[in-house]
Amino acid sequence: MQCTVTSIQSLAAGFFHLSLTPEKPLGPITPGQFVMIRCGESTDPLLRRPMSVADFEADGSRLGLLVQIAGRGTGTISRLDKGDQLDLIGPFGQGYSVPPEARTIVIVAGGTGVAPFMTLTPTLVSQGKDVHVLLGARTKELLLMEEWFLHAGASLHVATDDGSKGFDGLVTALMMERLDHMEEPPDMALACGPAGMMRAVAALAEHNNIPCQVSLENSMACGFGACLGCVAHVRGEKRYVTVCRKGPVFDSREVLI
């Protein structure tokens, strides 16, 4: 599906936000679902890059992506201009699923892991839920979309590894502190970010008997279940599941992170 770039904005060194209008609406999107982006028309780099949908219109007539420049593919995307075309397919996979009875939600995001929560946070707030967003980054410059979350109606806390803003330390340490502050444990934790962060969030959630959903980022070739490259190991079983189809969002007790 060809999309027109309607804006491209630098967020921090090596990070940018891309806004896209597909030639036809993509259809309904669930936060946590992803699209597969082609990095130019050449066969080098060859494979599409999976990217979590960040902000979007409900019918998929517009979508935003948070991109971290990691190599040549994302480098090519970073040089796009307003009006350029970008080829994507999707949305694919299973997004976050918050049951109606969950009242208090803790969201933990690191780096571009904030993406799936950009639309989910205001949605959960509008449903009357008590939403706590914990954002983590190495430095204050790398805290992405903080402004957005400030206006999303959630209670926002930030952590930086170097202490340049907010809590001084890892976002998982901040999570531990917030859990201590809360009168009752939250009904649910949602995490997205580096694997190490998600493992720590999942461990903390499980220790406190809080259901937790994580979004896995295994390398994948296709994104739609054909290559079988992205599989995750099912916990306690000799079995794999495809991250692209059964995930990328899983209950943290289901798979090895």
């Binding site: 054909a226 992205c230 599989v231």
Partner: protein, 304 residues
């Protein structure tokens, strides 16, 4: 424009077939296009019992290609026959069952079962998958073992064309092509992936959990074209050209080298509707080249 191809008795409405390991059991692609638009497809390699495959990382991108070490993950014969086949029988496209065994007995048992399975148009033996220690490599790289396993399967495959997918990881592929033809194969698929590897220099170790993997994609196309050329010279049976097909020009290149049809593999991951797209673009290119059919171009690069 006549795109029809009779490949060893398998009727293909065009010379474009989805390659095994990139096309699931076909149904994965139904959300992208009508499967009746393509010549056919080869299933994910089937074994008697389901297989879970290798640990991750299983794939790694390389220049104009990728390495994979999926480890022959598949649903197994029973589930394929009972869950996938009822749906596939309703689709008007050629279904070629790719299969492998860990032992000679398993190859033969599975070949017999697939030969009897309604809705399968042909069998493609994987003797070349380089990923699993006990699996393909030994069968496809030792000429006597290749002959024995092809003869064994030939003896039980009585109703359907038997195609052998050759390993490129041998010194002289033409020798293997002749051995397969002499052992009763009806067709060849040339080539499977080339063994490769990549190192994660930051962590000072191989990227793939399996250490080595199969290289595929446009990067291997010149090697594949050369091997199709060599096999065409060596045998009379039809050849599927496989290796990085990404455009109608690539299709014609393989056909001119001696392929009767081509299989599209890795590019399905990048453009899931590439096969119907190529089917649409091919007639125009053939007209420009002054050809009235696909078949008249087979092997023309070899001269008169």
């Amino acid at each position: 424009m006549d795109l029809n191809v009779d490949f060893a008795g398998i009727k293909l409405k065009n010379p474009l077939v989805g390659a095994s390991g990139t096309f699931g059991y076909g149904l994965t692609y139904e959300k992208f296009f009508d499967l009746s638009l393509i010549g056919g497809f080869c299933t994910k390699g089937l074994s008697m019992k389901p297989r879970e495959g290798n640990p991750t990382p299983r794939i790694c991108e390389t220049p104009s290609g990728m390495l994979n070490a999926i480890g022959l993950q598949n649903v197994g014969y029973e589930k394929f026959a009972t869950k996938k086949m009822p749906k596939l029988r309703k689709i008007s496209t050629a279904v070629i069952a790719n299969f492998f065994g860990e032992t000679m007995e398993e190859y033969i048992e599975l070949a017999a079962k697939l030969d009897a399975l309604e809705g399968i148009h042909g069998l493609e033996m994987n003797i070349s998958c380089p990923n699993v220690e006990k699996g393909g490599a030994a069968f496809g790289t030792d000429i006597r073992v290749t002959e024995a396993v092809v003869k064994g399967c030939r003896a039980v495959v009585k109703n359907k064309p038997l195609i052998v997918k050759l390993s490129p990881n041998v010194a002289d592929i033409a020798e293997f092509a002749r051995a397969c033809e002499g052992s009763g194969a009806d067709g060849l698929s040339v080539i499977n992936t080339l063994v490769g590897m990549a190192i994660d220099i930051k962590n000072r170790k191989p990227i793939l959990a399996n250490v080595t993997g199969g290289l595929s994609g446009p990067a291997i196309r010149p090697v594949a074209v050369r091997m199709v050329w060599q096999c065409y010279k060596a045998v009379k049976i039809p050849i599927f050209g496989i290796g990085g097909v990404a455009s109608a020009k690539d299709v014609v290149e393989f056909i001119m080298a001696g392929a009767s049809a081509v299989q599209v593999g890795t590019m399905n991951f990048v453009s899931p509707d590439i096969i119907p797209q190529l089917a649409e673009e091919l007639p125009e290119l053939l007209v420009r080249l002054g050809a009235a059919s696909v078949s008249e171009l087979v092997g023309v690069a070899h001269g008169g």
